[in-house]
Amino acid sequence: MSGTGGREAILGSIRRSLGRGPLDETARAALDEKLAKPAPNIVPARTDISQDERIALFTSMAESVFATVERVSGAHAVPGAVADYLAGQNLPPSLVMAPDPALDDYPWADRPMLAIRRGAAEEADRVGVTGALMGFAETGTLMMASGPDHPSTLNFLPETHVVVLPAERIGGAYEEGWAKLRADGEGATGAGFMPRTVNLVTGPSRTADIEQTITLGAHGPRRLHIVIVDGDAP
């Protein structure tokens, strides 16, 4: 079926086409060296700016793809911002939240009307609240990594996705995200530092498959609301 026959035949055919046999040890070592120490290629200069400017660029880029962005000062302001956003959208104050310990540091109890369940998203959930590993000013993109603290279904099943993002997690270019994953992996290499799923999310779900008319909420969230938290964020 998928036995080694196909593998050897394909590798053999590749090598015939390249006019050589398997690479020798020296050549392999040189290629592996590059894999072991991945380096950024050209990185656009647009994010070569101050942190304040990065936050501003992140915000305008995210808004240009129909995300909404709110900036609040201090962890204490987060529950109110989330509750007010839901009320403003005429959404029920009931949500499923990532079991992310970082989110525990916001005083959700200050808003007792918010009904919060922690865990993965299910069919009936209308609002999901998560953190994000990073934001990239380059295109207003969020990076989210799956794990016990962040089930990926939260990013896709609920029709409204609210992301709480401490301002200092906003970086410049995507490459900073790969560097962070490697650093978080504490020396693990190859697949070792990669979570099962890394989502780069730029705005809410959309399609233009019917007459090139951009329509939001194709399969994933209709709304993506980003709360940027300044100051004493956890």
């Binding site: 079926m1 998928s2 196909g6 035949a9 394909i10 590798l11 055919s13 590749i14 015939r16 086409s17 390249l18 006019g19 398997p22 690479l23 392999r28 290629l31 592996d32 894999l35 991945p38 380096a39 290629n41 050209i42 656009p44 880029m61 240009s64 993109t141 799956s146 794990g147 016990p148 089930p151 896709f156 995507y174 790969w178 190859g190 697949a191 070792g192 990669m194 979570p195 099962r196 799923t197 890394v198 989502n199 780069l200 999310v201 730029t202 705005g203 809410p204 779900s205 959309r206 399609t207 233009a208 498959d209 019917i210 007459e211 090139q212 329509t215 909420g217 194709a218 399969h219 994933g220």
Partner: protein
Amino acid sequence: METTSRAFVANAREGLQDADLQRSLARFQGGFQVKRVEAAKRLPEFEALRDQARAIKDHTLAHLDHYLERFEEQVTAAGGSVHWCQTPADARRVILSLCQDAGARTVTKSKSMIAEEMELNPFLEEHGIEPVETDLGEYVVQLADERPSHIIAPAVHKTKDQVADLFHEKHTPLGRTRRLDRVEELVEEAREVLRPRYLAADAGITGANFLIAETGSSAVVTNEGNADLTQILPRVHIVIATLEKVVPTLEDATTIMRVLARSATGQEFSTYTTVSTGPRRPGDADGPDAYHVVLLDNGRSRMLGSEFRDVLRCIKCGACMNHCPVYGTVGGHAYGWVYPGPVGAVLTPNLIGLEEARHLPNASSFCGRCEEVCPMRIPLPGLMRKLREQEFARRLSPAAVRNGIGAWAWLVRRPALYRLATGVGMRVLGILGRRRGRFTRLPLAGGWTAARDLPAPEGATFHALWRKGRRA
């Protein structure tokens, strides 16, 4: 996939006479072209990134065996498996057995051109497994029992009204009996109809925009999020990809991503870029239990050693078809196989044979726009010309064409005779056409005059005018 590439000329004529298709085509190209130019303008590094993207793929292709082996090692380390398949039939069998092992009754699918190459949907259906396309355009095409006509906008040939009729017909049995007329309503209905299918699917099949050797990951790009619901909800995630999708590192994939969406739709970045590595981890609350990569060759390893290697850099962005005047006139179905447009004109003869697809490399005015906009700088007109040369050398074109080209070649290699013959010809035509200024019929030019008049020459050849110094 069944091919009708042999019938390109008839297919094209049909496309020209299809008023709905012409309306759809007229709308779509302009929008994509303007958005691409604007996106490129906003990124000063765009041209340098194209150069680097090309260099990354060239390097990878020159060491393809090594990077595929490294990719497989890392997939295995992450708890997944790689299945090497030489032919579409091999790949179909592997996918079927993975689905059967999972006890699958329905599988969701996010758009993949490779699945079209292997005619996966009819094969799964024959074996009692229902494939459900989830990309909106692909869903429309599946409901209509058609084939995609564009690689990133599969239903670009359909008008909103055609989609409305189709949904009305196919969704009525589901209790959705109202005919909808707004695009938002159609998108909403597709969302509501497909949501339970995602939740019920036993396996999810996605394509891949990149395979990453460094980490054994696959990366897939969508705007709808359909590839994500397809891969995180079912028990099994099956990735299907051809060999040349591999790149060395996450950084290399990132560089190519920067030119992908900008070239395709003019977006700064697609909405969802998802990098998947192995099955779910201990402690994860969701994600698939199993992760398989079905690696399909289907002629790519052979092309690697041919003069068409450059086309293996293709990242399937669709820019060449968004800018091709021939595609924009006849539509994607005319090309008769999986890949339409300029890249299809090079890939198709290589994958299914020049005998089947000899018309496609001729379906070009060689205006050069495809090469100009290709983010991977694939010299598409040059590759089409090589195919035309092969067609001539292998005597695949009709005798009349070959003799005509032979006579032409004989003449142009004799400059004095050429100047004499064309000079006389132009003078005669100039005299004959002086009164009306155009010909409605002319011997040997029936192909031209069938659809339009031929302007009458003014009596002198370009060569003659040039020599006289009239170089305006």
